[in-house]
């Protein structure tokens, strides 16, 4: 029944259809704004138009199909979906349209400003008089919050910033939090400081990056924040301008952090839970509040926020594995309270070793606090049960035993001076054998390899073991042989499978 392509009637209909579609396109956005999103598939739109037409004049039902072959036909939209226009809406012609557009624009602007703009808080003259009890409390809060771990660069002035923080989104430099008026926080009032701690906004209104753990600090008590403020304000002012961050686009646009905050910034100051002891509550406060343990010990999602569903289930930081903190007493190499207490305070403990890598400065901080703080943390952490049942595997030798003689030779050459059973460090100082350390017991070889490559550097002024770095002394094959040999002694049932690729990756990272 369909007319031929060159038929005059068909041509007439085509022209009329095209005019119809042009009008439809013209009012597309106006209608979209006025009517809200009535979204139809393109094919259904064509049917709708054709039906409208056939019901009006409809001499040739079915002719709409011709449009698919007509090169001059104006496609309704480039996208697969379009808005269904209402052709004769009186709204289109009225002032209401433009008023609505204006209202929507204003609402959009208000929302954008509310999200992405924060006012500056007026500068003040640096306050100087705080009572000494408050300063003492503040010093402890600053220590528990590990402020100096990031806000002091190696060799730099205390709390004057400048430490590079390498993130997947670029490199950040920590800032100066000494009370210097120009480059530090000397002009910050307590409300400005509290806003920064709870919402991640600097005094002048700019958004701070979430590498600063305000997600956790917002859970602190107002008293602790005030004490920390007093302590920071009473310290020596150091003139140290912030270094320019090297963030990749679009993360170099700070207001975008507001969207991150919208998604991840929630949680109120922690209140004690009645069913638990005071020590447990104190531990929870230290872990979730100032200590921000989950910052490293929880995995991060694609945009650098902690996965709340995997709270303290283990993460990674600077190439090190930050192990899970739940189920510490349930695992194959379990922790008891005494071991955890010693470890948290930077001691060398039997069965696990001593904190290395990024945990070392954290444990040294904890060691400077009263012992009750580490006890509280240990009580809380040991109460956290692993969501996964422990699967104790029965040790079974691999079917084809590997030859570890080269690893054994390397051990006697490079490690035995300190780590052999008869070495003075172990005989006199009572250090544990390597096979009992967490690094060799862990499922991942990362922390063992990182320790061998980088050693345990001396921290000026801090006590503790020192181990030389072996990055330049051992090549990849030697490192692999050594790791396989020692793992065989620690966990003969579970050799590390991924050694050479992990070593390769770590070498790339530390270049």
């Amino acid at each position: 029944m369909c007319q031929g392509y060159g038929h005059p009637a068909a041509a007439r209909i085509r022209a009329r259809d095209n005019a119809l579609m042009r009008r439809a396109q013209r009012c597309l956005w106006r209608n979209a704004l006025l009517r809200g999103p009535v979204i139809l598939h393109r094919k259904r739109l064509l049917y709708a138009l054709a039906l409208a037409q056939t019901s009006a004049s409809a001499p040739f039902p079915g002719c709409y199909k011709e449009r698919f072959h007509d090169p001059h036909f104006i496609r309704p939209a480039t996208a697969r979906c379009v808005f269904l226009p209402t052709m004769n809406s009186p709204l289109l012609k009225s002032r209401t349209l433009w008023i609505s557009v204006a209202v929507l624009a204003v609402i959009g602007l208000v929302v954008a400003v509310a999200l992405m703009w924060r006012p500056a808080i007026a500068p003040i003259k640096r306050p100087t008089s705080f009572d000494s009890a408050q300063l003492q409390r503040g010093a402890r809060v600053v220590e528990a919050g590990d402020c100096a771990v990031c806000h002091t660069r190696p060799g730099g002035e205390y709390l004057a910033g400048g430490l590079p923080l390498v993130t997947p989104f670029g490199t950040l430099y920590s800032t100066n939090i000494t009370p210097d008026a120009q480059t530090g926080i000397g002009e910050w009032s307590l409300p400005a400081f509290e806003r920064a701690m709870r919402e991640g906004i600097a005094r002048d209104g700019h958004f701070l990056y979430p590498a600063f753990p305000y997600v956790h600090y917002r859970r602190m008590s107002a008293a602790d924040i005030a004490d920390a403020y007093a302590y920071l304000m009473s310290g020596p002012a150091v003139h140290a301008p912030a270094r320019q961050n090297q963030m990749n686009f679009p993360m170099n646009i700070r207001p975008l952090v507001s969207f991150w905050n919208l998604l991840f910034l929630h949680g109120e100051p922690l209140t004690p839970l009645a069913e638990h002891s005071a020590a447990w509550n104190r531990g929870r406060y230290l872990v979730d509040g100032p200590g921000h343990c989950a910052g490293c010990h929880s995995p991060l999602n694609l945009i650098g926020a902690e996965k709340s569903s995997e709270y303290l289930l283990g993460g990674s930081v600077d190439g090190w594995e930050a192990p899970a903190l739940v189920g510490l007493g349930q695992r194959a190499n379990p922790w008891n309270r005494e071991q955890l207490l010693g470890y948290l305070r930077a001691d060398v403990v039997d069965g696990h070793g001593t904190p290395a890598g990024p945990m070392r400065p954290v444990s040294l901080s904890l060691a400077r606090l009263p012992a009750s703080e580490a006890e509280a943390i240990a009580d809380y952490l040991l109460s956290l049960q692993s969501p996964h049942a422990v699967t104790e595997t029965t040790p079974k030798k691999p079917s084809n035993p590997t030859d570890h003689s080269s690893g054994a030779l390397l051990f006697s050459s490079a490690c035995a001076g300190c780590h052999a059973a008869a070495a003075p460090m172990r005989e006199i100082d009572g250090r544990p054998g390597l096979q009992n350390t967490s690094a060799l017991q862990a499922a991942s070889s990362r922390n063992f390899l990182k320790t061998v490559l980088e050693g345990v550097p001396a921290i000026p002024g801090a006590p503790g073991p020192v181990m030389p770095p072996f990055a330049a002394s051992l090549d990849n094959a030697q490192l692999g042989a050594l790791a396989a040999y020692l793992r065989e002694q620690a966990r003969p049932d579970q050799p590390w499978a991924d050694l050479s690729s992990t070593i390769e990756a770590l070498r790339q990272e530390t270049k």
Partner: protein, 157 residues
């Protein structure tokens, strides 16, 4: 015993060594390069420091196996008593040695820094030299000597 070829101060030396022998023993006992000293044997003092491929290492903890093809340099490569190198001359100039036992290691660690960064500031020098100890306590003179070379525009070799 196995045959290991070490490239020391530019010359390839084929040696019959136990593969677990640390480099320090090969240098002192097989090659008569007695500059590097045995101090603690634990990588804690730095008296044995030599340069392997531009990086300072503790020769007492570095196995010979695995060093084939790498460029090993000892204090003997810096100059001689008659013709000391610039860093050695600066150590003499500043009278940086007392008993002298640590000095070969100090020189090699400082040398590796100055090759990487010819004009380090004092902070960098102190951080870099932290791995080497001087029992006589001449650290301040040692740092002065390194600073003297770091201030010079002349080359180190």
């Amino acid at each position: 015993m196995s045959q290991i070829t070490l490239t020391v101060n530019g010359a390839a030396q084929a040696l019959e060594l136990e593969p677990d022998m640390p480099l320090l023993y090969a240098l002192r006992n097989h090659l008569n390069l007695n500059g590097a000293k045995y101090g603690c044997g634990l990588g804690q003092c730095g008296a044995c420091t030599v340069i392997v491929d531009d990086k300072p290492v503790f020769a007492c903890l570095t196995p010979c196996a695995g060093l084939e093809g790498k460029k090993i340099r000892t204090v003997e490569s810096l100059g001689s008593a008659e013709k000391p190198g610039p860093l050695q001359a600066a150590f003499i100039d500043k009278q940086a040695a007392q008993c002298g036992y640590c000095i070969a290691g100090m020189l090699m660690r400082a040398q590796s820094l100055l090759e990487r960064d010819p004009h380090p500031d004092e902070q960098t020098i102190c951080e870099h030299m932290a791995g080497n100890l001087c029992r006589c306590g001449t650290h301040l003179r040692i740092i002065e000597a390194i600073k003297q070379v770091a201030g010079h525009s002349g080359s180190l070799t």
